[in-house]
């Protein structure tokens, strides 16, 4: 069994309070200092210690491998707030045993926008990865692991070897998530699936004292992995799992440090990067007619576009795309793209019931979804006015 250990690194440019009366004032939409302060805090709690343990494992276990996706906005903030984190990532890249994936630079939902936005954003990201780490990704992941037949077709046409997706019963039927599949409309594209049970055992349940398997040790976890049938096992999670979502006091960093040692003892287990796993033959095509993600109980886009606030904000932003391009001002285009970062829509989630709300509130930097929406719309309205001016169109009175 090949273990594909993949972690996602992302930080959005959170907006400052931009009030309606600030329209036209020239105030910035983004509070840089606050974002960088958050980054520094997470770097201290998570990025540095977790990367330290991963680098250590790369040194000690020649078979150890993992894969990373690092968004463009993460790279921007790391450069300003904690350049040493980039240094650690560079060291990991230099081993040749860490694969980097391509994605949208702004962690956006640009696959829902008219072309060429998606292609341009991916190209931006690929060249940023090349400049920073001297790597050339062959695998693609979409924001929140979004995948559909349509996206598979896109990825294959753009020369990607494979994509990541959720291993979800609704699409798999009785087939195993622990195999490699091909795209339904992209026969040469390999799909690596997330085993969400084993991934969430670490990502969500590790520190849950009420969980029957608490506490989870690396030894026990490695045994579970070894006992799982299949050829390729996807352990996909947020990088912040290690020290941020679960505090260091839960023992999560010790778990991370110990895992390669216990996996090494299991003779049936080996590590593979996403690129290596995608070389395995496919077990037939997997049809995903509508977009599937790794989020919430429904695995759809409901977390970003599920309510009227989210849809109206996204539609308003989408409409502004051609204007942002037409303005001819690169700063306006960049600002618009920062506003397309999916996190902004996530903060407007309203569903106040069930297990997902806690997750949403944990990630939100606003008092309420209404706050998030109003603030976002103010920034967008102001940007539209600026773009109209730059494009030489008189703003309607």
């Amino acid at each position: 069994m090949k273990l594909v250990f993949y972690m996602h690194m992302h930080q959005p440019w959170r907006l400052a309070r931009f009030r309606y009366v600030d329209l036209g004032s020239g105030r910035p939409y983004v509070d840089h200092e606050r974002n960088l302060a958050i980054f520094r805090r997470i770097a201290e709690r998570c990025y540095r210690p977790a990367l330290g343990r991963l680098l250590d494992a790369l040194d000690r276990f020649p078979e150890f491998r993992f894969s990373l996706s690092v968004t463009g906005t993460f790279l921007e903030q790391a450069r300003l707030a904690a350049p040493d984190v980039l240094g650690l990532l560079k060291r990991a890249a230099a081993t040749g045993r860490v694969a980097f994936l391509a994605e949208t630079y702004y962690h956006s939902l640009s696959f829902l926008l008219p072309p060429p936005e998606l292609t341009e954003e991916i190209n931006l990201h690929v060249s940023a990865l090349h400049d920073e780490f001297d790597v050339k990704p062959s695998m693609l992941r979409m924001t929140e692991l979004a995948y559909s037949d349509e996206l598979g077709y896109f990825a294959e046409r753009h020369g990607f070897k494979g994509m990541l997706a959720e291993g979800w019963e609704a699409t798999l039927g009785d087939r195993s998530p622990n195999e490699v599949y091909s795209g339904a409309r992209a026969p040469n594209l390999k799909l690596l699936l997330r085993n969400y049970r084993l991934s969430d055992d670490v990502g969500f349940r590790f520190s849950a004292r009420g969980w029957s398997e608490y506490p989870l040790t690396a030894e026990k976890y490695a045994r579970w992995l070894a006992a799982t049938p299949g050829r390729v096992l996807g352990l996909f999670m947020d990088f912040e799992t290690f020290g941020e979502h679960h505090d260091v006091s839960t023992g999560i960093l010790d778990f991370l440090a110990a895992l390669p040692r216990f996996v090494d003892r299991e003779t049936t287990l080996s590590w593979a990067t996403v690129d290596e796993a995608a070389s395995e033959p496919a077990q037939g095509p997997l049809a995903v007619p509508t977009t599937m993600t790794w989020a919430d109980q429904n695995r759809d886009l409901g977390a970003w576009l599920g309510n009227d606030l989210q849809r109206s904000a996204f539609e308003a932003a989408k409409k502004m795309g051609s204007l942002a391009r037409r303005s001819g001002d690169p700063e306006i285009l960049t600002t618009w793209r920062r506003l397309m970062t999916s996190d902004h829509f996530y903060y407007m989630y309203l569903g106040a019931h069930g297990a997902d709300m806690g997750v949403h509130q944990y990630f939100s930097s606003y008092g309420s979804p209404y706050d998030a929406y109003a603030n976002y719309m103010n920034a967008l309205t102001d940007l539209r006015r600026r773009a109209l001016e730059a494009a030489g169109v008189r703003a309607p009175a």
Binding site: R19, G367, Y373, N378
Partner: protein
């Protein structure tokens, strides 16, 4: 609101307001031209919970319908109604003579209602201040009357609201060895904006010191009771106000939106913030009208302020409005604003919410504690009030989603639930005090 320190009116508010500038007919004419965009929905049925133990409560209150000038009267009426629906009995003690709105299970006692019992105070029962600011004799004699009130043997507790009957209620509770519960709706510090009438303050202190349990209508007020009245925190319980579930009003959308303030024109209400915010909104939303519905001592100053800000043609002072007019206004308003400097709870905001009007309140108001579906703003932050108003006027999705959310939040705040919470406060003290007897 609770009787104010200045001069409280014991009678019903005047039916005709001296500042009214729009007639009822005009308002109704506005109503007829409106576009109905959302169907009204029926109020959900109210559940009845029958108590396992039937209590007899002597409630020392103030106003009672049909004479109501503020939140205190509404609170007492709804509480009595729910308590009796649960099977409890209430003897309601008030300085005013009836007739009162008949409420099954509630017996009214007022000076003169039982001439042979106690000593009725002389003359009228108006609460007025003497030349040195002390509360006049009539109030003292009212308290003497309350203290001497003969109580039935089965009375379980005395429940006093605010300051005017505290001395009598405390003395009666001691004499009959029954527990005293006191609900504080607001304090003299709040009502006077920091310049308290010391005699009233003394009666508040007397009440909270004597009460076995103090009920506060918000967490914010509880903090004040601890810090300024030194009430031990473990004796305070928070029971919020509520709202009667009414049918959802049809929400009306017109190109010329209305932003509504509805309440007394008192300094603590911060209506000047409403006007200053209006002046900031109008450059962005030039067709908005800001309606000030209510009467009070601040009216002349507010009228002058509107003129000074150059927005007089966008501000409508309606004066005191009837219940029907209030309904029309709530159906027509796009936004409701309660910018109070001090607002122990803010029932009027709940009334707007249950009507489905997106609501902006100041952070200090108790209503901000029970829901996240309103915008809560620092009372001094004019720009933030202006922004919230403009955002609600400009973004229809926000207005619609918040309209649904505020109504749902308000419907969760029922008087039946508040009565149950009040009963559990009674039960905390009824048994221990009975055991001491």
């Amino acid at each position: 609101m609770a009787p104010a320190g200045e001069v409280a009116r014991p009678s019903a508010p005047p039916r005709k307001s001296r500042v009214k500038s729009v007639s009822r007919a005009e308002l109704e004419a506005i109503g007829r031209t409106l576009v109905w965009v959302r169907p009204a929905s029926e109020a959900p049925p109210e559940p009845v919970h029958v108590a396992s133990r039937r209590l007899h409560i002597v409630m020392v209150g103030w106003e009672y319908p049909p004479h109501i000038s503020g939140g205190l009267g509404v609170h007492c009426y709804e509480l009595c109604k729910e308590l009796t629906r649960m099977g409890h009995r209430v003897t309601f003690v008030t300085p005013f003579s009836g007739p009162f709105l008949e409420t099954p299970g509630v017996t009214f006692r007022f000076p003169g209602s039982a001439p042979r019992e106690g000593t009725p105070p002389p003359g009228s029962y108006n609460v007025v201040l003497g030349p040195e600011g002390q509360v006049a004799d009539s109030l003292a004699s009212y308290n003497d009357w309350v203290a001497a009130l003969p109580l039935a043997k089965d009375v379980d507790a005395i429940h006093v609201h605010d300051w005017f009957g505290t001395v009598g209620a405390a003395s009666a509770a001691r004499r009959h060895h029954v527990p005293l519960v006191m609900t504080v709706h607001s304090t003299e510090y709040d009502r006077s904006l920091g310049f308290p009438n010391l005699a009233i303050l003394e009666m508040e202190r007397h009440g909270v010191a004597a009460a076995h349990r103090v009920i506060s209508v918000s967490g914010h007020l509880k903090k004040q009771l601890i810090e300024r009245f030194h009430v031990p925190p473990d004796r305070i319980r928070v029971v919020y106000n509520a709202v009667r579930p009414t049918a959802r009003l049809e929400r009306l959308v017109r190109p010329d939106p209305i932003v509504l303030y509805l309440g007394r024109l008192a300094a603590m209400k911060g209506v000047d913030t409403f006007l200053r915010a209006a002046a900031r909104v109008l450059p962005f939303v030039p067709d908005a009208t800001f309606v000030v519905a209510g009467d009070g001592p601040e009216f002349p100053r507010l009228l002058t302020l509107a003129a000074h800000l150059g927005i007089a043609d966008h501000v409508l002072f309606l004066g005191w409005v009837t219940d029907d007019e209030r309904t029309i206004l709530l159906g027509r308003a796009s936004v409701y604003v309660l910018p109070s400097v001090v607002e122990p709870f803010g029932i009027s905001a709940l009334e707007a919410m249950v009507a489905g009007v997106p609501t902006i309140v100041s952070k200090t108001s108790g209503v901000a504690e029970i829901t996240e579906s309103v915008f809560a703003v620092d009372f001094w932050d004019i720009d933030e009030f202006a922004s919230r108003i403009a955002e609600l006027l400009t973004y229809p999705s926000l207005r619609n989603v918040m309209s649904d959310a505020v109504r749902e939040a308000a419907l969760n705040a029922t008087w039946a639930e508040r009565a149950r919470q009040t009963v559990s406060v009674y039960l905390e003290v009824v048994a221990p005090v009975a055991a001491e007897r």
